[in-house]
């Protein structure tokens, strides 16, 4: 593959990859925080 091909491929892969990991990182971390909140509520509920 010539250098133009490598550049095109890495730019596109980089953009798509970054978008993918950025979006899923935020979705999954948001989900984890939500689950923790639910667990804490349940713990408090069982204590009360």
């Amino acid at each position: 593959m010539n250098w133009q091909g490598w550049i095109f491929m890495f730019i596109v892969w980089g953009l798509v990859g970054c978008l993918f990991f950025y979006a899923f990182y935020h979705i999954l971390s948001g989900e984890r925080i939500r689950n923790k909140k639910i667990q804490n509520k349940r713990k408090k509920g069982s204590k009360g």
């Binding site: 593959m1 010539n2 133009q4 091909g5 490598w6 095109f8 491929m9 596109v12 892969w13 953009l15 798509v16 990859g17 978008l19 993918f20 950025y22 979006a23 899923f24 935020h26 979705i27 999954l28 948001g30 989900e31 939500r34």
Partner: protein
């Protein structure tokens, strides 16, 4: 119908993201994209592809998510109700019929095509696909020789599996029919289980599995080395796909690829097809969101998952595998023969040369089946939602009614020559840009750009750059208008001027009564849906 508090909801956000990704990721990601990119300038094709992605796909995607959530809060899971909620006109709900017509027609033929992948997977697993003659392949074979000596048995097998033309009919094997029925029953069963217990669970299992299988196959393809000749390997396939070709040959003339309208139309068409925009399915899934649930980041996540599957995984499988065994010239010929030739003829032949190739072939077709199944349930869901929300059926009743219609109408695709091509032409090619144009005008101009912008940002995890507001309002409709006008010019105006409109095979298949029967079916279906909308709204006091 307003304020339906009993409306089902997605159980988890990741389940929603995976289900939406499953809706978008289909056969097109692994079969259509590599062929289109290779045909239209390789790396150069990615320029119009990404411009269409930013100026058209992302704004439409966010608008569809927002419209879906907006409609869902008012008890509407489909576009007739959503359009009526946003546009206080008596015709709004009838315009919205397009949004149930498109997915319902697509699901009819897509289920049949999707069932081929499962059938092929079983054939491959049992090692019943044609055998390759290991000694027949040698370096320096021309594309024609490869087609005749290597690929022909696989092509004949495909014709036998998908139906041999006999007059206006297709002769289909019993096994093909049996597998189709199995896929249909599985889909109806999943739909009858509902959003969180059916579609969400399917997505949580199928989507990770799809990514894992795709990664395994990509690794296998790139560890092939130079199986036939030191002159070509999988990296040459990547080069074929990614090296920008600024000048390509079209109709015997060299054209600059970025100034050729066809390249732009192909790029925009691919973006539409791959993200399932203008299908009415995104709105339907989004209608099961909670009122303040984010649509911006979640929408972006599903879009990025689709692009990951298409550009990174899809681009690294079929073409590099074909190039590794058959060379660049033959890969080019294979890509130009279309998606089915690439996926169902060339890839099984490639795997046939490898140890445990039948197992790899089974994985490849199972990957395609997972992609197809998650899209099938997404396309069927709008009709289920329509029957539930507007007609008042229970989910079980809606699933049974749709299942019966689905079963009966699929016979047009199975047994009539050109049946599924006609459906694909009107519902899969012409319909989505039309619906998307209507949606954008409705939301940005009739309902109000500022109102929809505010609605989009409710519960949003990140702000949408203002750039997209102006893009959605001015650029996206113009872009869509150009696509539709070009389509109209090429497919309607030119045949009319030539005096061959009624005789012209618009859908790319030879004319005959089978084509007219399918067209008539589509007209009756659209009319029937309009009548159902009329009956559903009759007696409602006033449009919401």
């Amino acid at each position: 119908m307003t304020g339906n508090n009993k409306r089902e909801r997605w159980k988890t956000k990741i389940g929603l993201v995976l289900a939406m990704s499953g809706n978008a990721i289909g056969l097109g990601n692994f079969l259509r994209f590599p062929g289109k990119a290779a045909e239209n300038g390789g790396g150069a094709f990615m320029i119009p592809y990404f411009i269409a992605f930013i100026l058209m796909a992302i704004p439409i995607m966010w608008l569809e998510w927002t419209q879906g959530r907006f409609g869902g809060m008012r008890g509407h899971g489909t576009t007739p109700g959503m359009f009526q909620s946003m546009w206080k006109s008596r015709v709004a709900k009838y315009v919205g019929v397009i949004g149930i017509f498109i997915p319902t027609v697509i699901v009819v033929y897509y289920t049949y095509i999707g069932s081929w992948t499962l059938g092929y997977s079983i054939y491959s697993l049992l090692d019943l696909l044609p055998k390759v003659d290991q000694s027949a392949l040698h370096p320096g074979m021309s594309p024609q020789e490869i087609s005749v000596f290597i690929l022909k048995p696989f092509d004949d097998f495909r014709s036998g599996y998908t139906g041999i033309v006999s007059g206006e009919f297709l002769k289909v094997q019993l096994f093909t029919y049996f597998i189709f029925i199995a896929v249909l029953i599985l889909s109806v069963w999943l739909l009858a289980r509902g959003i969180s217990r059916g579609i969400e669970i399917l997505a949580k299992i199928a989507m990770p599995m799809l990514f894992v299988i795709a990664i395994i196959l990509v690794i296998r393809v790139f560890t092939l080395g130079h199986p036939v000749s030191g002159d070509y390997g999988p990296l040459d396939g990547l080069a074929f796909l990614w090296e920008p070709k600024w000048f390509i040959e079209r109709n015997g003339q060299q054209v600059f690829v970025l100034l050729d309208p066809k390249t732009w139309l192909e790029a925009a068409g691919q973006i539409f097809f791959t993200l399932s925009l203008g299908f009415g399915a995104i709105q339907c899934y989004a209608s099961y969101l909670y009122r303040d649930e984010d649509v911006v980041l979640t929408g972006l996540a599903t879009t990025s998952a689709n692009e990951f599957a298409e550009v990174i995984l899809g681009g690294s499988l079929a073409i590099p595998a074909a190039a590794a065994f058959f060379g660049i010239a033959a890969a080019q010929v294979i890509a130009s023969q279309g998606s089915f030739y690439l996926g169902f003829t060339s890839i099984p032949a490639v795997f046939g040369f490898l140890p445990a190739g039948h197992f790899l072939g089974a994985l490849w077709f199972f990957l395609l089946f997972l992609a197809a199944l998650t899209s099938i349930v997404a396309m069927a869901q709008p009709m289920i939602a329509f029957l539930e929300d507007e007609i008042g059926f229970t989910r079980r009743q809606a699933s049974i009614v749709l299942g019966i219609f689905w079963f009966l109408s699929s016979h047009i695709c199975i047994y009539l020559r050109g049946g599924w091509q006609v459906m694909d032409f009107w519902a899969g090619t012409f319909g989505p840009p039309l619906l998307a144009l209507i949606e954008v005008i409705l939301m940005m101009w009739i309902f109000g750009g500022d109102k929809i912008w505010k609605e989009m940002h409710r519960g949003a995890a990140l702000p949408v750059p203002r750039f997209f507001y102006y893009t959605a309002k001015y650029i996206t409709p113009v872009f869509l208008g150009i696509i539709l006008l070009t389509w109209f010019y090429q497919n309607i105006a030119v045949p009319v001027v030539r005096g061959s409109f009624l005789r012209a095979a618009l859908e790319g298949v030879e004319m005959g009564w089978a084509v007219w029967t399918t067209r008539l079916f589509l007209v009756f279906l659209f009319g029937g849906l309009c009548v159902m909308v009329y009956l559903a709204w009759r007696g409602r006091e006033a449009p919401e």
